[in-house]
């Protein structure tokens, strides 16, 4: 993974000093709320319903075991002994004291971490595929580009006060596991005539106005990545709306101008800077790639390790299930990537305790070259596990509550913190997630349903990605009461689509039954090998609507 050099250390260290000064000025009354707000936000510090919330940047989700142990220690010393993985592959502390935050940032800096630009109207943490570097369908590893983007966007002097927050995702595989079409900029790595380059999508997003991004460039040469991003953000900084925060995202500008005109403006700007200093040199690209060189894999005979694994699975149904749902094929024979589930029933999705963070560190050290990745659906991936150690890992993961074999199933939900924590929420989301997990706890049923993303947001800001859940649930407020709207048919994959609202909303108590009815229709109507989304796309919303709203 990327390691800081003296320059990175200097810059991050000076940021800690700067924020320490800002916090002191605020606590001394020299900065008022309004002035302190953008400063603390650009350091990831929100004031939530009950306490401050500090969001730590995990660049493209990658963590080493030292960092995990430090996060565990911080959660113990400065928080209530747990932390929360977010859908931007970051990590949040929900209970730090404001006056401790400078010290927390100093502790993070010691392990090459920070909270820079994890909120505020600036370029946020770049996200990517949790299987980067190991997936069989990968065209090129996205992480070197993510790191170059991280450096380009960190304290960018021109783009620290954009009209609104700005999110970039990079996907390097054929399947889109980075949800790039619901990002402000989505970068897809492609190879054409032996050359690596990028397709560039702009103007996607969720929130109040969900939009699937538009392709504005079909092939961007590799060396032009940063200058092209600079051109896009510059056009947006000048022309994006600033009169209404709900119309300030780049997606609104792209819609207003039309993607063709927006793309023309970007190209015009880019023509003037493409040959400038931001053009990536071959040395810079090689340097960035070197940080993500493959680890020192052992050599295995593919057929032999497969049959050994199969023999283990044949003797143990629970292990076989975990193997099927929670592991992912690896490009190197004898290895698999493993997902640790943070979503057992009864725990808010993405929450982990301090000892679990340490357990992840230990598992990473023992089984996966000391590294772990946070996924955008709030789980953790150990990317490089030997197949002959999977059973040992499974047993260790079970001990720490990470082996719920539900990855990709109905109960592996994305869920925002909701009304229990967030001051923006209209409704609670965690209790809904838990009710659904309790209702659908029959693993045979979940496996029979297969891949099914259910996403829950507590308000229309859509932090729980409900627009792109195969089933999406949105908390709404009706005269002070919490209700839940259900949507069907969303997807954040390479065939991205937005869910359609089923109809009038439901009370919290009704939600599990409604989900049950929807699943029954799928089971009745599906053809062999059809996943939920396939059946929905074939039969449409109407059959679901009729049954769910049928008079009793």
């Amino acid at each position: 993974m990327y390691r800081y050099d003296e320059r990175d250390r200097t810059i991050i260290g000076e940021r800690v000093a700067q924020f320490r000064g800002q916090t002191e000025r605020y606590l001394a009354g020299e900065l008022n709320e309004e002035q302190f707000l953008p400063l603390r936000l650009q350091n990831g510090l929100y004031i939530q319903r009950l306490a401050p919330m500090l969001r730590i940047a995990v660049p493209y989700g990658l963590l080493n075991s030292d960092q995990l142990r430090r996060l565990a220690r911080i959660s113990r010393d400065y928080d209530k002994g747990y932390a929360h993985f977010t859908t931007r592959q970051n990590l949040q502390f929900n209970w730090p004291r404001l006056e401790d935050v400078p010290e927390i940032l100093a502790e993070l800096a010691e392990v090459e971490m920070h909270a820079v630009q994890t909120s505020g109207n600036c370029i946020r943490n770049t996200t990517s595929d949790p299987y980067a570097g190991v997936a069989r369908d990968e065209i090129a590893d996205p992480r070197p580009y993510c790191e170059l983007i991280r450096q380009w966007s960190t304290f960018h002097p021109e783009f620290a006060f954009l009209p609104r927050k700005f999110k970039i995702a990079v996907n390097g595989a054929k399947a889109d596991r980075a949800a790039i079409r619901v990002h402000d900029i989505g970068v897809q790595i492609i190879e054409r005539d032996g050359e690596i380059g990028f397709q560039v999508y702009v103007g996607g997003g969720q929130g109040r106005t969900p939009v699937i991004a538009e392709l504005i460039r079909d092939f961007l040469p590799e060396q032009d990545l940063l200058s092209y991003l600079e051109a896009i953000v510059r056009v947006y900084n000048q022309l994006g709306r600033r009169d209404n925060k709900y119309k300030a995202r780049i997606k609104i500008l792209v819609k207003a101008l039309g993607p063709e005109e927006f793309g023309r403006r970007v190209e015009r700007e880019w023509e003037q800077i493409r040959d400038g200093a931001d053009r990536l040199t071959p040395e810079a690209l090689d340097w960035a790639r070197a940080f993500f060189d493959a680890p020192d894999y052992a050599r295995f005979d593919a057929a032999a390790t497969e049959s050994d694994l199969q023999a283990q699975a044949d003797g143990d149904k629970a292990f076989a299930r975990w193997l099927e749902r929670n592991t992912f094929p690896h490009r190197v024979p004898g290895y698999r990537a493993v997902r640790l589930s943070t979503k057992p029933t009864g725990v808010p999705p993405g929450d982990v305790t301090d000892s679990q963070l340490e357990a992840i560190a230990d598992l990473a050290d023992r089984f996966s070259f000391g590294e772990a990745r946070v996924t955008h659906d709030q789980n953790v991936v150990l990317a490089d596990v030997q197949q002959d150690e999977l059973q040992a890992l499974w047993q260790a993961a079970r001990k720490h509550g990470f082996a719920t074999p539900n990855i990709g199933t109905l109960t592996d939900m994305i869920c925002c913190p909701g009304g229990d924590f967030c001051s923006l929420a209209n409704a609670k989301s965690i209790p809904v997630a838990e009710a659904i997990q309790r209702r659908f706890d029959d693993m045979d049923y979940l496996y029979d349903l297969g891949d099914l993303n259910l996403n829950i947001s507590g308000c229309m800001n859509a932090c729980g990605h409900h627009h792109v859940g195969h089933i999406g649930i949105l908390g709404v407020d009706k005269k002070g009461e919490e209700f839940y709207q259900v949507q069907l048919g969303g997807s954040s994959s390479e065939n991205a689509s937005l869910g359609k609202v089923l109809g009038p909303s439901f009370s919290r108590a009704e939600v599990p039954d409604v989900i049950g009815t929807i699943l029954n229709i799928y089971v009745e109507q599906r053809r062999p090998d059809e996943l939920f989304l396939d059946t929905y796309q074939r039969i449409g919303l109407q059959p679901f609507k009729e049954r769910v709203y049928a008079k009793a």
């Binding site: 953008p38 380009w152 207003a256």
Partner: protein
């Protein structure tokens, strides 16, 4: 795009930061007001003055013999290309930040310096805050007509909150990947 409403006007404090030190403000600044259209080259008082962009655009021919004492200020919705190459001839351009969160002026500053060859005084005016000074400096500003409550002396260190940077900008022509020793 809806037409932006007439927003706040820049103040023109007697003291400012220039060239890294506290200095006296030698320029008057004409606000963008309803009377502005009535101003002519004949009625404009002598001395150094910063004109709103529309007034400057209308009077620039008539004022050509006073060019050394005529500056322009751009509001946040007025982009650098409105001045374009004409910026080369100007002694001073001020860029207005009607609110500190309105970051359009950072782009304006950079483009004036990097694209349109502006070498005169680039002055930030309006509601920017201390913690933006490093960014402003990096985008080519060299004068800061600060309107806030902190003393100008206290502000000076914040021009250099960061001693190093990742990007190319006006203060540093090479991005970090052209500055690092990249081998190992």
């Amino acid at each position: 795009m809806p037409k932006p409403k007439a927003g706040p006007q820049p103040q023109n404090p007697a003291q400012l930061i220039r060239g890294g030190a506290v200095a006296s403000n030698e320029w008057r600044l004409l606000p963008a007001s309803d009377e502005a259209p009535e101003i002519t080259a004949d009625t404009l008082a002598p001395g150094k003055v910063i004109l709103p962009f529309p007034v400057w655009q209308r009077l620039r021919e008539d004022l050509s013999d006073r060019s050394g004492e005529i500056g322009v200020w751009l509001d946040s919705n007025e982009t650098a290309d409105l001045l374009g190459e004409a910026a080369r001839e100007l002694p001073l351009v001020a860029v207005h930040f009607p609110a500190f969160a309105d970051g359009r002026g950072f782009t304006t500053g950079r483009l004036l310096r990097e694209r349109f060859g502006f070498t005169g005084e680039l002055r930030a005016v309006g509601a920017f805050i201390r913690d933006q000074l490093t960014y402003l400096r990096r985008c080519g500003f060299d004068a800061y007509a600060y309107e806030g409550e902190e003393s100008l002396e206290d502000l000076l260190p914040s021009l250099h909150d960061f001693s190093d940077s990742y990007q190319a900008a006006v203060d540093e022509s090479r991005p970090i990947f052209r500055r690092r020793p990249l081998a190992g």
